[in-house]
Symmetry: C2
Subunit: 262 residues, 2 copies
């Protein structure tokens, strides 16, 4: 699938304010988390942690360097939360960041959820008083944005951007390999996942900063194709057998080609 | 796809010792994590945290109850790590568990990685001196085991077990809905994801206990179908555009039906 078709599917997040109906907006914002403060937690256990706007580029550079130490999920989480912890000091600096090495390659090479997303949304949940719209923004952006869009110091290969199509590791890698004409075990792909980690961590900080500045997060609209799937498979549909915001047709190509459901 | 065909695809983990070749075993064990202790970390930041065998059923019951408070990822992680933290005391009890609410419904409803897995593998990475084989065991088991297989006190609906097919949320839910003849937004499905959270957390503890007792983890073999895909798409293959251990044919049905690659 070429880039133009992908852009038709789900428009970039910043363009989406007018596309989502009131129902979608209500759905996204309804599940706003109550902070742990309300539950009587204290210190480091109290969420969200205090957050002041960060420098997105500095966090992105740190994410690239952390990726080289502990892969994608560790890289994005350590860069965002580690920067906050450096500011807060005390027990905040004692967080066991190494636990997030598990997210490498979509969980220890299983190629499920992209680790740069897994780490970034964990950071968002830890740092935001209302994480859900930020998470939805970041996930939707990841599906359609040409990435990586941040190239850190130390990166040595030419910039090649591709659209992931879904938040899943193997889709993201396969699309990039095709665009770059490189193999999945090549040094170029290894570096690309580092620059991707930097790019996703950077975008998470942009969103956290916007929220901290009082900007209302825009919601995203499902693609027309996914809306068609949801009509039967989501809540209230004839089948109602899933709960999903992810793009459908990237994997379920047979159904798309056959005109299933039309 | 019926249950018998699924069992043909990837045999249960406990049967798999003899199926994986030396190459696969080397691949699984090669990326064993160096503990953060070696890097000079101390206290709560030092991983793995001290681990003594836990009662799998007690953790499972706690996971179900935590699921009711913070959904699937929070439920599995809080039950396993919270039980360890209760034993260790001190700063270990200060961990910000609420951050794992993001994993609900495959990350805030996106239906990617099952949250009960996301939380359980995070716990494994935090608690195990050699997490990779445990994570691979748990992920492979989740794909093919009839689940939920633990029904906690407080659960009220009839037991219905299904095979997820992949580690992804929407696949897991869709298969269960078909087997149970229930909808994805039904109270039965909501309870099922709680009993699933209990079941997956329980299995993670079983694996952690086996490792603590010195038992060598068995590796798993890819299904014949996935081996066929990997022959071209994985390392050294003609295409080499992915890195994955996940089952392929569950989603890429068009390729399977068309005999793609044969």
């Amino acid at each position: 699938m070429d880039s133009n078709k992908k852009m038709d599917r789900r428009q970039l997040v910043t363009l989406l304010g007018g596309l989502a109906g009131a129902g979608a907006a209500a759905h996204l914002f309804a599940s706003t988390e109550k902070s742990a403060a309300a539950a009587g937690a204290s210190g480091m256990q109290q969420t969200p942690w205090p957050y002041k706007p960060l420098d997105p580029d500095a966090v992105a550079q740190r994410a690239y360097e952390s990726y080289l130490k502990g892969h994608c999920m560790y890289g994005s989480f350590e860069a965002i939360v580690g920067t906050v912890a450096d500011q807060l000091g005390g027990p905040y600096k004692d967080f066991p960041y190494a636990m997030f090495k598990y997210g490498a390659g979509g969980v220890n090479g299983w190629a499920t959820l992209c680790g740069s997303l897994n780490g970034s949304v964990a950071a968002i949940q830890l740092l935001s008083p209302n994480p859900n719209p930020l998470i939805d923004n970041l996930m939707a952006w990841y599906e359609v944005a040409p990435l990586p869009n941040f190239y850190p110091k130390g990166a040595k290969f030419p910039e090649v951007r591709s659209m992931a199509g879904t938040p899943l590791c193997h889709e993201s890698i396969a699309h990039w390999c095709k665009k770059a004409e490189k193999k999945s075990y090549s040094p170029e792909r290894v570096e690309r996942c580092g620059t991707l980690t930097a790019s996703v961590a950077r975008q998470a900080v942009v969103l956290l900063n916007e929220q901290a500045a009082g900007k209302t997060m825009e919601v995203f609209g499902l693609s027309k194709q996914a809306q068609g799937c949801s009509g039967c498979h989501e809540k209230g549909g004839m089948v109602e057998n899933i709960r999903a915001k992810m793009e459908c047709g990237e994997c379920h190509t047979a159904e798309v080609k056959s005109g299933h459901g039309k």
